[in-house]
Subunit: 316 residues, 2 copies
């Protein structure tokens, strides 16, 4: 050690977009992995072989790692290439979810299937459902409207939506519904936080008294939390107020403090222990997520297809 001759220069850290290949390149890499040939991969993504060659090469230069072993009878991924490809796949997956959602947003008035959903559902569940729906019924044009429960109900009753998804304790008046999933709020913190190694259950009063990382006032998550802790002294002033669930998550992961988040948002962080859940005594932070429709008008056609994607058990 010792030999550090300085802070290693100014360490040029250009923006993420300059250090991560663009989507086209990532798709190309994945295609190479699948086909074992640059030319075949090029054909799949609709470019010529030299373009593919050059693109892969520049990606290797950018990352500073050899990704593929070229040989006169094809190209296979190197070990590092396999790893990079797996990470690339996750970017592409997120891009597909983005695309599915965006495509639904675009189809405004005239679409076949109009879905109204609460924010949490629209944000975390719809993209996956839409990808699945697209796989099953490729032609379906979907439009997605996000709003609170009242707005969803209103749209359904006005005939402006074919099916809705809401979170909450009860089905709004005039609607029928079925529970399709659950949204449990979890208190989480980075593993380095003292609460993470605390034995036993946390006292709700202590939770209420502790400043948390939260979304801004008015978010559904915050309302539920407010209600649940009303009997324990009410919520303390937030440690940080952030504009999106993902921002809250990032702050919590980085150790800024404890946060309360939907389990839908943090499943991966929990699995990988970037966040740990802290059990709280007796506070029930669970909401049902329901598909809803105008009373008596069970969804048919595409709406029914969408519904069947979301629930494994009969309506009951």
């Amino acid at each position: 050690m010792a030999g550090r001759s300085g802070p290693q220069g100014d360490e040029p850290r250009p923006h993420l977009s300059h250090r991560v290949p663009d989507l086209g390149a990532l798709e190309l890499l994945i295609a190479v992995a699948r086909h074992g040939s640059l030319g075949a991969a090029a054909r799949e993504v609709g470019i010529t072989q030299p373009a593919a060659s050059s693109r892969i090469r520049s990606m290797e230069r950018q990352l500073g790692v050899a990704l593929v072993d070229r040989s006169p009878r094809g190209s296979r991924l190197t070990d590092a290439g396999a790893l990079v490809t797996d990470w690339a796949r996750r970017i592409v997956e997120a891009a597909e979810a983005f695309d599915a959602g965006a495509q639904a947003l675009r189809g405004r008035r005239d679409s076949r299937l109009r879905v109204a959903a609460s924010m949490t559902i629209a944000e975390y569940l719809m993209p996956g459902w839409l990808i699945a729906l697209r796989a099953e019924r490729p032609g379906t044009a979907v439009s997605l409207q996000a709003g609170n429960s009242a707005a969803v109900a209103q749209r359904l009753l006005a005939g402006d939506a074919d099916v809705g998804f809401v979170e909450g304790l009860a089905v709004p008046d005039g609607l029928d519904g079925v529970v399709v999933a659950h949204d449990r709020l979890a208190l989480v913190a980075a593993p380095s936080h003292p609460w993470a190694r605390r034995p036993g259950l946390l006292d709700p009063a202590e939770l209420a008294a502790t400043p948390l990382i939260l979304r801004e006032r008015g978010s559904g998550t915050r309302q539920v939390l407010d209600a649940a802790l009303a009997g324990h002294g009410g919520l303390a002033e937030p440690l940080l107020e952030l504009a999106s669930t993902t921002a809250v998550k990032a702050a919590a992961v980085s150790g800024a403090g404890p946060a309360v988040l939907s389990e839908l948002a943090i499943s991966e962080e929990l699995a990988s222990r970037r966040l740990v859940a802290i059990p709280v005594e007796g506070v029930l932070l669970r909401r049902d997520l329901r598909a809803v429709w105008p009373a008596g008008h069970r969804p048919t056609g595409p709406a029914r297809d969408l519904l069947s994607l979301t629930r494994a058990h009969p309506t009951g």
Copy 2:
């Protein structure tokens, strides 16, 4: 109903990269969300205000949705814009994981912290850990080598790695270690699969006799599965053999058949019910994930920092 006048033309479906804005645009959008101003966002990402204006505008054209409400005293996201921004954040998150991993791969010989990890860990856990480590110790240069348990042990003993991560039942000879997480294999299928609504536990013999979607022979996941089902007639011929965990996952989600996957890979799909877990009677598909180091040489410095990110409980 009725009025379908045709299959809606040939529906030009250009590649994903043409339908999803590039990373720079997504980062810009997120910056706009944070600052409430195009100009400020532009400054943050290092471009000029007109460039930002044009970029947001072209993104809106591409998506066919208004993303920001412009006013003479700033720009706020529209409802659709908020939704799109959340989806964008998930792409950026995946890109950050990619970057963290890639940066670790790049730092070959001379890096400060050399990590050797099994594939599952390198793929699913390391990127998150590296992001966290970077947040805590910004200067640390990390290199990541992926291989099986034997390769990890060899690198540690040869002094080519400072800390290792392996999956398996025991700590390799010559190493000390501590369990940092668990990798449970789960049998999963799309909610539409018959097994998904099956009551009770699945008979292991039936599982063994059923063709599954699997990774190619030789993968760690497949070895564990093979061993677990050896006493029940052995694994049937696979329904599909795919080259990556993500590909297996995608096939399972799309309803191609049941698959066996690490819970690390499917936590989000389980939470959103795009996949459901099917309990199997008495088959224990759980592996410990351990941090390991040469016996007697507890990690120090950056390696220790990394370790402390991964475990919430004392070494014991």
